[in-house]
């Protein structure tokens, strides 16, 4: 049994990680942390997250002494923290025995100029960044298995890249046209906090971050082409549906797309090539990516749709996939019956 801990367990992603880790046969989770400044320190985790009401875990305040101790005693540390906190703590946490899985955006962009532009502050941990592996589980399993630091992908990039990479990896797109990614996310993507914009009565389907969202450079970096990405807030708690419109390269048709997807995912049980258009409820509370596409031979355009649970495949369950790869287990261990 490996020793793991979760830092940032007061949020939705942290709580989901705790739920998954408590059900994982290869690890033991005995400690969960929040920032020392958090009003939640000292509370049983079940008082924040009712689904965990039976758990005996209490949110501990993370202080300097704990950081050093965790780095030396834990096998795996999960960081479900704000970007800034991940920056601040990573050097210490990744400097010992422990390997670190970071679920924030702090280490996803290798380009620190782009990071500063999109996140609004300078990268303070470039050394840790240089050894970080991007944790898109189906695409970088070898690198993840050996990594000391893994940046678990963002929710929108996970959905977008799972849909786009089979095509960009094989140069099936017309380079004169940017893929147009429209995605709708559940409100949990905005985190667990009091904010007027996230209050029940204010939420209503709406785009945001148009032509400037920070997941744009992340998508572009890992699929290799520039995109137009428009995120939307939807009136539901969990899930992302991404609808992607692409212009195919000359001569590319439905059969080549089918082949590209099958080849990419035939050995990956958590990506499901569906025979109908993905529906959010089919994936919510699951670790799956559901994909479907259609090509229009006349116009040369194609539409691809991807559905995930943003808190699962877009965060916590993808982190578990990375964990499994790092400890030599099947990627889907603890996520689906094997």
């Amino acid at each position: 049994m490996l020793d793991v801990c979760v830092i940032g367990a007061s949020g939705y992603t942290g709580a989901q990680l705790v739920e998954l880790l408590l059900g994982h046969s290869e690890v033991q989770l005995n400690r969960v942390f929040v920032s020392a400044a958090s009003a939640d320190a000292g509370k049983p985790i079940g008082t924040l997250h009712g689904r965990l009401a039976s758990s005996r875990l209490t949110l501990e305040a993370l202080d300097e002494a704990s950081l050093a101790m965790l780095a030396d005693t834990m096998d795996i540390i999960f960081l479900a923290t704000p970007h800034e906190a991940s920056h601040q703590w990573m050097d210490q946490l990744s400097g010992g025995k422990a390997r670190v899985l970071d679920l924030s955006g702090a280490f996803r962009l290798q380009d620190i100029q782009a990071f500063e532009q999109y996140y609004g502050f300078a990268h303070t941990s470039p050394e840790a960044l240089s050894k970080t592996v991007y944790g898109l589980a189906e695409w970088y399993p070898q690198k993840i298995s050996k990594a000391n630091v893994v940046a678990v992908p963002g929710c929108y990039p996970t959905a977008s890249l799972c849909a786009l990479k089979p095509l960009t990896a094989q140069n099936l797109l017309d380079p004169a046209h940017r893929p147009v990614i429209n995605a709708v996310s559940g409100v949990s993507g905005a985190g667990r906090k009091a904010a007027l914009a996230n209050s029940f009565c204010e939420v209503s389907l709406q785009s945001y971050g148009v032509l400037g969202h920070r997941h744009t450079p992340e998508i572009e970096a890992y699929c290799g082409v520039p995109v137009i990405f428009t995120p939307h807030l939807g009136n539901f708690k969990r899930g992302i549906l991404a609808t992607i419109t692409v212009k195919l390269a000359n001569g590319v048709g439905a059969a080549m797309l089918q082949q590209a997807y099958q080849q990419a995912y035939q050995d990956h049980p958590l990506v499901r090539l569906r025979n109908s258009w993905p529906k959010l409820d089919d994936v919510v509370h699951t670790p799956f990516v559901d994909l479907h596409f259609k090509a229009d031979p006349e116009s040369g355009y194609a539409v691809i749709s991807a559905a995930i649970d943003n808190v699962m495949k877009g965060a916590a369950s993808q982190a578990i996939q990375c964990l499994n790869l790092m400890i030599g287990q099947p990627a889907a261990k603890g996520l689906i019956p094997l």
Copy 2:
């Protein structure tokens, strides 16, 4: 044309009042206010409430000078403010020409001991309270028509009293059994504010304020019998559905109930005696109360159901009914085609 203004127009009730007043043929609304301390002062109302995006009204900061001026120049002042603010401003606002309609809870309970117990602070305006009329429009039209100060009823009491009063007014209930009121409200009832409990991901059907909600003494005061009132938060924006279980007095049956309801509401077009169980969507965004009931001759129990829009009949449209009564218009003027 009468001059009216709305104080507290940043909230959901205030915005709904503005929408109704802008469409009312007998009044002109040129000024809307927020507390001087509010960050919303100076903003066009449409930036807070998108439905009013075409309006040229700007939220003015309410200062001392304005209070005196409004009392002297306005015909009717609507207060859609916190209880404390209504206390603070009422003496001044009701001391001149203007008549005041208060939508807070500040003046609904004549019993100031009960007020202090349920609201947590002492009543600071007992003189204004002594001249206040309770604005349950279908039940106190005469008094409302002459009032200088009207306390517009709370949302739960409106639904509960419209359902119960026809029975209590005619002594149709068994006094040994308290009516059991279960009601579910939309989240707008909690007001427009940033709060974790009202954030989209946290809202889920749940009871609250059990055996101690401040609307309990208000219901009891105006129907004359003690009740067990259990409110719930529902996963919708607007509406209240109240389900009320009563034990009928000996010898009371369905026919007597039917007669009691018909007699109470035959001249009141905004109360609709339905032939099926009221459904929230039938009343949301409308000024109606929908009622239906069923009696069980064997056990002597009956169930009554009432549906309203909490922001309309539970606040703003009932205030408009009171306005109409005060200015000698049909109560439903500006609310339904007449």
Copy 3:
């Protein structure tokens, strides 16, 4: 007072029409119809549509005799019927005194080949089609004012065309790139009927009709450029949010877009150029179109967002706009305070 009637009043669009017409000061609505084959014939309209519970209107069965009588006695007839029924009845209904507003898809496409391809059956009323005017109210007011038959636009086309036409009318788009329209509609767009796909538990955000929806040729016909249109079903009852990605022609920037939109809509109070991204709830139960856009000078792409209520501006309230134009009233009469 003009005499009007609604044929097809059992559906959501028909009921909304009834609600609007009952509140319209220039018309009287005394008769509402359903197909003679409908099980709803003979029922008070309020038993189907609870919002109309106070109405005394009863759904009459439409027989042959009624058709002739209505054509001769009504001033305006609203058809909120299936496409096939509109075909069947149009010749007779439009052959007399009455002018007809058809809210189905039967007369929206002048190209009868395209009609047959997308609707799956041949057009049976080409003569009426030849005199039909497309009822996009802000764009064709002159023609509508004189028309005998108006085809009220589809819901998706209304949102899409209001967003696109200011740009295509002034040739601001790069012709090598198709506008990409992603739109999410509430379930009312599918009509009032029992169907597993529309049952509460089955509805979940999902695309459908990809690269083949019948609103595609309608959009293309009236904006003059080919588009990629992807509709989605959303988990809400009313509303459409359309997000449109375009490639601008060389040299076109934000200022030219701003000018194009202002010029197009400055005299049209029901189209609101918002300063933030449109949100469904701002327009639901209203006759408004909310629009906002952003251009990216670097890439030359722009994103436009349009929000409407599909049952109102996407159907019933746009029909009222057409009615107003036909009878010489301001287009917004009966829809907003004037």
Copy 4:
């Protein structure tokens, strides 16, 4: 490994059963059935239930030959069928080696007069009924462990009985007052079917089956007191929240209630005595019952709230609890980490 099968796997309960059984370490599920008349026969289960898209199970048509074969070869048979079908097939299915868990209402009432009154048809399988055990897992574990036929309780009764039985079992209630049960259920409780009443646009919070719902006699039979039960349809897919108002017997207070609940559930990990009012989302997609209560010493009334997932604890996961008891495993096996 025990051999199990599910009959009626096209519905929501059947699909949830399949999902749970596929993850249960002590059983193997290789066959799932639908009625031979069903249009779903022959379809892969994933085409009906997207969450099961990876499953290779295909819905087989259940014919006479299968019935006999299943009775002889299966260890456990789950019936997630209409009441009538359970009647029809039970004698044959329970006549051999197999033990049967029936999730319909067919065998829940031992009183066949009451059955006929509330279900509308006569009981056709009284012999099987006489040997049926009621599968309320926390209350009848011994009987369930030995049963050949188990009637898995209804969803409302499960929530209601878990809340009430600790009180009625110890005679803590005033017999002159009926417990008043108000419960709100998600739409999945109505089953997977096309029906106007369950269509997305028609669903809105509403009571139904008032003073006559068939779960009333089931609740009364197993808690031993008459109740007033009012069910409601809520605008959500899964979950039941039951709010129960009781009059306590003289001298009974909060401490005795606390003791009664603790004693009843201290060894039952799936019933959670919460410190705050249960919220649906804390239990949806889980096997838990969340309970909380408050007593009012002044009036002698108390309110108890219970939350469950109607498809899980209200059907499928309670059936798994019964299965575990029948095969000598901990009741929570396969439902939570043990």
